[in-house]
Subunit: 230 residues, 2 copies
Amino acid sequence: MSTLYHHPMSAASRFIRLVIGEYAFEVDLIEERPWEKRKAFLTANPAGTLPVYVDDNMRALCGPFVIAEFMDETHGVLQRERRLLAEEPFQRAEIRRLTEWFLLKLEQDVTYPLCRERVYKLQMGSEHGGGAPDSRVLRAARANIRQHMKYLAWLAGNRGWLAGKRMSYADLSAGGAISALDYLGEINWDEVPAAKEWYQRLKSRPAFRALLADRVRGVVPVSHYADLDF
Amino acid sequence: MSTLYHHPMSAASRFIRLVIGEYAFEVDLIEERPWEKRKAFLTANPAGTLPVYVDDNMRALCGPFVIAEFMDETHGVLQRERRLLAEEPFQRAEIRRLTEWFLLKLEQDVTYPLCRERVYKLQMGSEHGGGAPDSRVLRAARANIRQHMKYLAWLAGNRGWLAGKRMSYADLSAGGAISALDYLGEINWDEVPAAKEWYQRLKSRPAFRALLADRVRGVVPVSHYADLDF
């Protein structure tokens, strides 16, 4: 069986778990703490990023973009209507643009700083920078959330799914990030009804169940985290 | 004709110019200074990253990864031996991993800090953070170069081209970054003969000529910048 090295609060890891769930195949999950810089992990992925997918033949695929393209080439291409990357090059470009948006731009502005301050620093030893959250970092990241949620609501309200009429990697990458932020109670859903409606649809997919069952030691999720109707 | 919004010192812009050169089609180049946050530019690419490719029908493609995949789907697929992304999924994954390595990891550790301190800050008004280079940032970035050049030399020495036996996006993305750093005289070629031999081969390609003719106002290139035999 193949293996996915992941962290439960990593948006990119959650994205790939959703892709694997949608394409209905199974992997072993191994939790990795990338800040510990395990030698075997860095050998598989010198960039030290999550997730890393290792197939039956011990070949490693590194990071969400590389894994998602590989999954499209080996699984998506056989799926027709359920393919998560479109057929037409411009539509594929839009899906990829948004996937990068959620896993690089939203990550940098919001997801990574909040997860680092509120979760990773609890798990890190002091030698890796662990400790109490930095309130300035929290404030800056929270100031960025609202613009990002407005953009997401605009996409969902105008297009149905984020990149168009069909669910795609754009939705699953957003779902990876948003579900981590929602776990932490960082999203004010009342302000963005179109985004809420989109997230309800996404949450009700069977592939989402494993994410909603995730619990991080020492961090209690917001009360509505696993509710499909919140 | 289509248009590429680029900056002459942006590694990602140079990468896409090399791809366009290898596939031998023409674009208009327009220099963009992304820190000025021009409204029309942010409308085309809300992430504000370079390069942005706009086709004849005014459809925009944002960032090096999205553009490179689009070029593969619309041009590469017709090229056979000269295709810059392989056919086999694992080989494609390795090319993509290295392309990300050079345009995200090397960019963060080395290319962006050096270009920002030495070039962009000359061009920026003080309202955008312009001014004199920060010597601590320069020192940190220069300390990172050596490890990166060792890795590049290892790849070139063991594989011929960086991702295998054929030239690929891995070489052109590395070439985009390395040529910008070489312009600034930041690379000590004597320490890495295998990387030097690789860069000589890459530099001699016709697609490289336009890059070697680039000059940035106020920043004189190192004397060997345009020499094929340096």
